[in-house]
Amino acid sequence: MAKRITIDPITRIEGHLRIDVEVDNNAVSNAWASCTMWRGIEKILRGRDPRDAWMFTQRFCGVCTTVHAMASVRSVEDALKLEIPLNAQYIRNLILIAHALHDHIVHFYQLSALDWVDVLQIPKADPAATSKLAESISPWTRNSRNELKAAQDRVNAVAASGQLGIFANGYWGHPAMKLSPDVNLLAFTHYVQALEYQRKALQVVGILGSKTPHIQNLTVGGVANAIDLDSQSALDMTKLEMIRDLLADVVKFVQQVYFVDVCAVAAMYPNWFSIGSGVKNYLAVPDLPLDSKGSAYDLPGGHIRGGDLAGVKRFETASDAAFRQGVTEDVMHAYYQGEKALHPWQGETEPAFTGWDGEQKYSWVKAPRFNGEPMQVGPLAQVLVGYSQGHALTKKYTDMAIDKIASIGGPRATPAALHSTLGRHAARAIRACMLAELAQKHWQLLVDNIAKGDYTVHNQPVLPSHEVEGVGTHEAPRGTLSHWVVIKDEKIKNYQAVVPSTWNASPRDRAGAHGPYEASLLHTPLARPEEPLEVLRTVHSFDPCMACACHAFDPSGRKIGVAKIL
């Protein structure tokens, strides 16, 4: 019965991120990001009722279900010029915030912490000393000697079993690992605790969305949550209080643990503030609308060119004309037919697979461009766009991070140092703190609005018979997401999703400009090219959205280190 096969079949179906790097003198001299993705899925939406699109787009991806559902209803609402009742905005915002907090915690602890934390050093740690150290940097109450000892025992048990189990893939003992045994233990203890708080954030999504992993409460024009403070079958005070309590726990974890751990890692790996910058054009859209029209937001948007923070340009709305007009997709190096870079409303998705050729076509991802240039998206873009506009909440947590890193013995970073691998991690933690604060604000806004007697959750959409176009955006955990819809005769005529990882994992365009992953890897030093931990650190810092296979070539083109990386 026991036959060795691939049990995780979707890896070959849903798409992989593949990174090719050339290594010269122990540093990356050239890089290609290529992916197989689900772009063809957009075609199945043609001819469908636009009010149904979100149910399908929610299945684009198993991790980012909610965000694709949200961008989809927003695109149709934009096309129909439909306003959204306040309650619906707040409920949506709470779902988006809870999803993002969950996602950011998972990203740091489960996806990337073990790039910096050497689990096999943990048996050497002293839980009492670790507890003292932890108390000196955070008020978190779960840094006790007992809690730390319990985490250490878990590692000891796995190590004693003779099989590394869940830790089988780490780069343990790699010369790029720099943390002391005590700091490794502290971070690992939080890795275990993080699972509990992720779950609490998911519970918030589940209560408001009726179900996870696929929420059920969205509808074009609002939400389907009935509000009745006295009815258990509706959104009542009991459920609202549960949400408040769950959020309070998650907020505390984000601000006292996640944020502090990222600052500690940053303090102890200071050279990573000067590695991994790459594309310094940044793009973020405004999100978390505060009114029914979508004219005021809690998260600002805009764009920055060439790292010039002072020259930031602001987007006033989530479908700002500059954004609507500025986006194109280029397929020069992607496996699609077509000559010109096209606007998403005119977008085509006709495959032309050629096999990987780094000089010609090499990726299933199109190359999105804004005003013709590659853009980096994600928490770093959002933080820089906000900071450079003097956005108070962004400034508050960015300055707090800079102070915290310095107080733990790290360098006093400037916002300019954020153009880096560590900068992306720091920005994600800064954004998580902002969202944590906003979670509580939007909960209060919802409760206050209901208390005024407003129970409205939905405006009825009316589909016109003439052709209309819309864009729905969301500043998702991995950055700017936009769904573009063309509606004619009450049916979808065209649909394109320009997702955050398309911006970041973009291949070169016809001008030869690298995408952000590619550019960020250039010049990265590698201590052991056959174990390219440093490449993974930078790729992970973007929070990539696809399964990834990494190949390392030496300059003669011979593959090295493939076995280890695959």
Binding site: M1, A2, K3, R4, I5, T6, I7, D8, P9, I10, T11, R12, I13, E14, L17, W38, G40, I41, K43, I44, G47, R48, D49, R51, D52, M55, F56, R59, F60, G62, V63, T65, D103, V106, L111, R154, A157, V158, G165, I166, A168, N169, V192, L195, L202, K211, P213, H214, Q216, T219, V220, A224, H540, D543, P544, M546, C548, A549, C550, L566
Partner: protein, 183 residues
């Protein structure tokens, strides 16, 4: 309180990858289960699968699998078979993570004792296409495998007198689904 989970895994938009959620919905429409048994369309959950399985006694998953067997073959994998597949290098949060989630649960001392993966060997994974003929023909055998193993695990279920609509919304016609709100 739920102690057993039957989960359908797969992307419903990608041909035979829909078979996990498809079989799950047929099970729901054709059988009633005791309260301790929960049925969930998990989609493609990756690392979040951990949250679904922590502390369970029994776990049965249904998924399309890649193997050398002909399409439509139903293959059962036990806990040891799954754990023998070392987790792949993790670069993104999307990669499927079955063995990884079981190992995480094991490290936390909360791994289900009984684990079964009912795998159906797929043929086509084309966007927007229905199940291939070979996989469609295997659906009944997959349902039978889940029902018999659930009983082996000590849980009960009863065949309903009349099956309810299965709610395979993704393969329904292009009229408005919003009215029926089957998610």
């Amino acid at each position: 309180m739920r102690t057993a989970l039957i989960g359908g895994i797969g992307n419903v938009l990608l041909g035979d990858d829909a078979v996990g959620p498809y079989v799950l919905r047929l099970l729901e429409s054709q059988y009633s289960f005791e309260e301790e048994v929960d049925l969930v369309d998990l989609g493609t959950p990756a690392l979040d699968l951990t949250h679904q399985i922590l502390g369970l006694r029994a776990l049965i998953l249904i998924d399309s699998v890649a193997s050398d067997d002909p399409p439509g073959t139903v293959v059962r994998y036990g806990k040891e078979d799954i754990l023998a597949v070392a987790p792949a290098e993790r670069i993104d949060p999307h990669s499927p993570a079955l063995s990884e989630c079981l190992l995480t649960a094991q490290m936390l001392g909360a791994c289900p004792e009984q684990v079964l993966l009912v795998g159906i060997v797929g043929a086509e994974y084309e966007a927007g296409q229905p199940l291939s003929a070979a996989v469609q023909a295997a659906v009944a055998a997959a349902i039978e495998a889940v029902v018999s193993e659930l009983s082996e695990f000590g849980y009960s279920c009863q065949k309903k007198a009349g099956a309810e609509p299965a709610g395979i919304w993704w393969s329904e016609s292009r009229s408005s689904l919003s009215e029926s709100s089957q998610i």
